[in-house]
């Protein structure tokens, strides 16, 4: 840290992206000082197990380049902003393991499109963030690095930060970085964001390039930012988004100025409240939070409308057919030949033994189960009964949303999670399906391809954050973020976890 660094700059790791951007442009702080503040916080935050590969040298090199660029007056919004990257994104020369032992030692020779765009805009890479193995999980416990830990703590238990982007959520909530990259296949941005009291947006499928992001379920995966404010989400998303010829499903649409859309005016908008989301046995605190969210939107001049999404209850079983089916195909590439782990072979072992031993050693139990479940539903005799049926139900789930939007609904308000953060080791040990139920409110829009944002709205009786989720029309992230901005301002969530780590 430079000797003349002011006291304020040493705490700059806790700034928002917008504050840091403005301070950098005014010359009130340097990118190097900002980066040093984050690197110091990261080293002091090892107890959270959020950063699993640190890149201080790369960070400082990028920060120095950002300072030169800022001095030259050519500074995009992300110039000099230190970010953390989920271990799913390829970063050139930096370990990229997707939280799996099967990719141990893999250092990509290229950057993902998203990270390349960020570095091109001057952002600073602090390192790679913990996650569930291959993004399969809702608690970060399937990671080969061991779980990331939620910075929120109310008793002697360590709590999950959620998953799969658990390290990203923990790092942003604990002020280790200003923003983090996450990905969301069934709720992996929004659920951890809600568990850690931060904001996370999953954009419309096709808004952000998937190229260079380790694939889980290709028709569902979408990357997005995890930040401390809605404004920051708008700034980072704008830098990530855009058409990419290298991803054939990326949309050829112009990227709007998301930040400029944050007017705070939602008068006359129609907010749908899906009655099927009011589950039997929903905790009263979640129901009360949802009601408060409706009041906030109503107070801002929006109209609250009761809507029906009749196929909601089939979303989770649909997801748990489609996602493992796609995963079984995507993960076939881990064969011990081109990259990552290869098992030690015994005398006489042939190539089949090499595949089988490599994959048994490299994949953890949940990943193995999903590959096998996916293989089963795609196998001869079961393809129609499971996979094709799930694709048909998926069409019905998507149609539910289309009908709601056609009836004039602008956004849908729902809880983000069925509970606040639970303790590490408390769920899914005996029955994997118990863990799957965490995605009940988030998974529907992945199936429909819609954008969704989780916003922290309050604390439960234990003192843990709870979030609400807004679901938007396809490609209308700008409008969706504006709704989230209204919710954020009305909720006034400013609580931070006490530092115990």
């Amino acid at each position: 840290m430079s000797a003349d660094m002011s006291g304020a700059a040493s705490r700059a790791n806790g700034w928002t992206v917008a504050e840091a951007r403005d301070a950098l442009r005014k010359g009130e702080v340097t990118a190097v000082d900002l980066t040093m503040a984050c690197l110091t916080a990261i080293d002091a935050g090892d107890g959270l197990n959020a950063f699993v590969h640190k890149t201080p040298e790369l960070a400082l090199e990028q920060a120095r380049a950002a300072d030169a660029r800022l001095a030259g007056g050519d500074a995009p919004a992300m110039c000099g902003i230190p970010v953390g990257v989920k271990d799913l994104f390829a970063v050139k020369g930096v370990p990229t393991q997707a939280g799996s032992n099967i990719l141990r030692g893999f250092r990509p020779e290229y950057d993902s499109t998203v990270t390349a765009k960020l570095w091109g805009a001057g952002a600073v890479c602090l390192g790679k963030l913990n996650m569930d193995e291959f993004a399969m999980g809702s608690s970060n416990e399937s990671s080969c690095y061991g779980p990331a830990v939620n910075p929120w703590k109310v008793d002697d238990r360590q709590l999950t930060p959620g998953g799969s982007s658990g390290g990203s959520a923990a790092a942003v909530a604990a002020d280790l970085c200003l923003a983090a990259l996450g990905t969301d296949t069934g709720g992996s941005i929004r659920q951890p964001a809600a568990f850690c009291g931060i904001t996370g947006i999953k954009p419309t499928y096709g808004r952000v390039s998937r190229w260079g992001i380790v694939a889980y379920a290709s028709s569902l995966d979408q990357a997005g930012p995890m930040t401390r404010t809605v404004r920051d989400a708008a700034i980072v998303l704008e830098a990530m988004a855009g058409h990419d010829p290298k991803d054939s499903t990326s949309a050829e649409l112009a990227v709007p100025d998301f930040e400029a859309a944050l007017t705070g005016d939602i008068r006359g908008k129609k907010i749908g409240i899906p009655r099927e989301y009011r589950l039997d046995g929903m905790p009263t605190e979640i129901a009360a939070l949802w009601d408060r969210g409706m009041d906030m939107m109503r107070d801002a001049g929006a109209e609250i409308v009761d809507i029906s999404l009749p196929h909601t209850k089939y979303a989770l079983p649909t997801y748990y057919v489609i996602a493992p089916a796609e995963a079984s195909s995507n993960l076939a590439r881990y064969d011990g030949v081109r990259y990552g782990h290869r098992a030690k072979l015994a005398q006489g072992d042939g190539i089949t033994e090499m595949y089988e031993k490599t994959r048994a050693e490299g994949f953890g139990p949940e990943v193995q189960r999903r590959i096998m479940a996916g293989t089963y539903v795609l196998s001869a005799g079961f393809y129609d009964a499971y996979y094709n049926r799930a694709r048909k139900v998926r069409a019905l789930i998507k149609r539910d949303f289309e009908l709601a939007f056609a009836a004039g609904i602008d956004a849908i308000l729902a809880p983000a999670t069925p509970s606040s953060a639970f303790g590490l080791g408390e769920q899914g040990g005996a029955d994997p399906v118990e863990m799957y139920l965490n995605d009940v409110f988030t998974v529907t829009l992945n199936l429909a391809g819609l954008p969704g944002v989780a916003v922290p709205v309050g604390l439960d009786a234990k003192g843990l954050p709870l979030g609400l989720q807004l679901i938007g029309r396809p490609w209308e992230e700008a409008d969706l973020l504006n709704h989230a901005y209204v919710l954020e301002r009305a909720a006034g969530f400013v609580a931070k976890p006490g530092k115990w780590w």
Binding site: G105, F106, R107, E109, T204, Y205, G206, S219, S248, T249, A251, K313, Y314, L316, P317, T318, Y320, V321, P324, S328, A332, D335, V337, R338, Y339, G340, H341, R342, D349, G350, I351, E353, M354, E356, K357, R359, A360, Q368, R369, I371, M372, A373, T375, Y376, S379, Y386, R389, A390, R391, K392, V393, R394, A395, L396, K398, D431, P432, V433, G449, P474
Partner: protein, 95 residues
């Protein structure tokens, strides 16, 4: 539908994942639980519904059939567990 150890062994083989005999019963039980969860889909009337193929109705773009990348042998082989003489090396495939 319930999965027995024989089916679990077959699925593991198809997936190219070695599972020890002793671990098959637990695997079968967990897979059965997952499949039991999927069974709910049988309650949905899907008559006349076309399977969803893409999230947004977009035609996959075509590109010119030209070489756009290549000549990166060293980079391609760099992460290989066993690369020799410019190739990926694997155990003997044919006798």
């Amino acid at each position: 539908m319930s999965i027995d150890s024989d089916t679990a062994r077959k699925v593991a083989k198809l997936s190219r994942i070695r599972v020890e005999e002793g671990d098959l019963p637990e695997l079968a039980q967990k897979l059965s639980s997952i499949l039991g969860f999927m069974e709910q889909l049988k309650d949905v009337d899907v008559t006349g519904v076309e399977p969803m193929t893409s999230v947004t109705p977009m035609r996959l773009k075509r590109r010119a059939d030209v070489i756009s990348d290549g000549n990166q042998q060293a980079a391609v082989l760099k992460n290989a567990p066993d690369a020799r003489e410019g190739f990926f090396a694997v155990p003997k495939v044919v006798e």
